[in-house]
């Protein structure tokens, strides 16, 4: 067996950090190289695949005329509003739902029904009801994320060990104290992970909503660029969405380690 295969291809075995970073960088560079080869080599028509430089130029132009910033700001505002609203309700209700059968009985059936409705199917109805402004985007994100969060957070709450609650009772805690000082803190790592995952989904719903009907936002920016065959702008819009997702994910990761040092991942 080749020495590097021997060393680096054993399941669940650590590899040196240097090797890890080199491999990550190499794959990134290869991806970029492939893109350059296809674009500059004339293998693909430029209106299908823009060159990297064209995308950067589109980005600079977008910043200069403000269109990129306005649309990004619109999307970020919509997603933050919808996501925060959904989370404010989903976290407490989810925690109660996972630990109180009576709450589960009242919330779970309707949740399971709504959860399987693709939110994109509701967009036409929402447009009729609330128009195509920010309210509609917020509604789409809310419906799309709230019910998913509810189920996931209820599961987190359900998973809190019985013994942890029982030991609290034997230490003199009453029910209220057990909920506020034991159940809720115990769910926090799972809640943070749920929020992190569902924020990614919220982006998907937002862009879908903006592609259907909008007058601003990154989805609108992408759709509008398609109409003019501005592939470089389409790429730009997609990349900005990816970049924002990456930033949000890193913020969540840092916040989790900072807020919950006791549950920090090594």
């Amino acid at each position: 067996m080749l020495p590097f295969v021997e060393a680096y291809f054993a399941p669940k075995t650590d590899i040196p950090r240097r090797v890890y970073l080199s491999v990550s960088t190499l794959v990134g560079v290869l991806g970029l190289a492939l893109w350059c080869a296809l674009a500059y080599g004339g293998l693909v028509r430029p209106d299908f695949l823009p060159t990297p430089v064209a995308v950067v130029k589109a980005g600079i132009a977008g910043i200069e005329d403000g269109s990129l910033l306005v649309n990004t700001a619109a999307s970020v505002t919509e997603i933050m509003t919808g996501f925060v609203l959904a989370s404010i309700f989903a976290v407490p209700i989810g925690i109660l739902m996972g630990s109180f059968k009576i709450v589960e009985a009242s919330v779970e059936p309707v949740t399971n029904f709504v959860r399987y409705l693709p939110v994109s199917a509701l967009i036409p109805l929402l447009i009729l009801w609330v128009g195509i402004d920010i309210e509609e985007k917020v509604a789409v994100i809310f419906i799309g994320t709230f019910f998913q969060q509810l189920i996931l957070i209820a599961d987190v709450s359900r998973g809190v060990s019985h013994d942890l609650l029982d030991v609290s009772y034997t230490l003199g805690a009453d029910r209220r104290t057990v909920v506020t000082r034991v159940l809720i803190p115990a769910t926090m790592p799972g809640v943070m992970d749920t929020l992190r995952v569902t924020l990614g989904w919220a982006w998907t719903y937002l862009v879908v909503a903006e592609l259907v009907a909008a007058n601003k936002g990154l989805g609108y920016f992408i759709l509008n660029s398609m109409r003019g065959l501005f592939t470089d702008q389409i790429f730009l819009g997609i990349m900005v969405i990816g970049l924002l997702g990456l930033i949000a994910d890193q913020i969540f990761k840092l916040a989790r380690n900072w807020l919950l040092p006791w549950a920090a991942n090594p």
Partner: protein, 258 residues
């Protein structure tokens, strides 16, 4: 009057879609003040259920349990419990875990801190006050759990196979530590185990339970002088008692298989 009086307790439950099960039947036993009583029995005999009944975490189907003459109806801090599973609050540091009961009892911070310090020292964990549970080994976590239960100054300490998940070296160290603490804390203890050596080493008396439905099969006095250390494990008296308990448990295991 006995400190803890279990009066003809039975526990029955109906599993989902199954026929009714009698987990415990005709259980009567007394634990005297400052006594160390141990219950051993084959797995599935309901010994954990019995301890949970005393803790007030579940209610008996028949009979009653009295602590200092008062009927047990709910969990309370007069009955501290140490579980087999690790039950430290992972978001609290060692000292905060130990202070948990004191804090909800409304004891002021300086006093809380002083008491926590004392019990942390008692279980030999000075220097780990600021550690989070995930930084501790299994044995250390159980020592914190013990300190946390003791800090509440319970009338009785209920221990449900607290060393069951530990390796055998750690387990014997923990047994010696518990003996040492018990000898000067003068606590009433009800301890559950399936480890016969552990039962004899620790207990003033050992109750052997039958297989399901769990009943008290026999009460055995452990007349081995205190203070004890693991050295008694090889004494003639110890071996004689062990032989007797093993025979009783073997009988039950055979009966359970039949």
């Amino acid at each position: 009057m006995a400190k803890l009086h279990i009066d003809n307790v039975a526990l029955r439950f109906l599993p989902k879609g199954g026929s009714p099960v009698t987990a415990l039947e005709n259980i009567s036993l007394d634990v005297g003040e400052e006594e160390f009583s141990v219950i051993v029995g084959p797995s599935g005999c309901g010994k954990t259920s019995l301890l949970r009944l005393v803790a007030g975490l579940i209610r008996p189907s028949e009979g009653a349990i009295y602590l200092d003459g008062h009927a047990v109806t709910r969990p309370g801090k007069d009955r501290g419990m140490v579980f087999q599973s690790y039950t430290l609050f992972p978001w609290l540091r060692v000292e905060e875990n130990v202070e948990f009961g004191l804090k909800i009892a409304g004891i002021e911070q300086a006093e809380r801190k002083r008491m926590a310090q004392r019990y942390i020292a008692e279980v030999g964990l000075e220097g780990f006050e600021r550690a989070y549970p995930k930084q501790l080994s299994g044995g250390m976590m159980q020592r914190v759990a013990l300190a946390r239960a003791l800090a509440n100054d319970p009338e009785i300490l209920l221990m449900d196979e607290p060393f069951g998940a530990l390796d055998s070296q750690t387990r014997s160290l923990m047994q010696e530590l518990l003996l040492k603490i018990w000898e000067h804390a003068h606590k009433t203890v009800l301890f559950i185990t399936h480890d016969i050596d552990e039962a004899i080493l620790l207990g003033d008396r050992v109750y052997v339970m039958t297989a399901r439905p769990g009943r008290i099969k026999e009460k055995i006095e452990v007349d081995i002088a205190r203070p004890r250390s693991v050295e008694v494990l090889t004494s003639d008296r110890f071996i004689a008692i062990k032989r007797r308990i093993m025979a009783l448990i073997h009988e039950e295991a055979v009966r359970a298989m039949a």
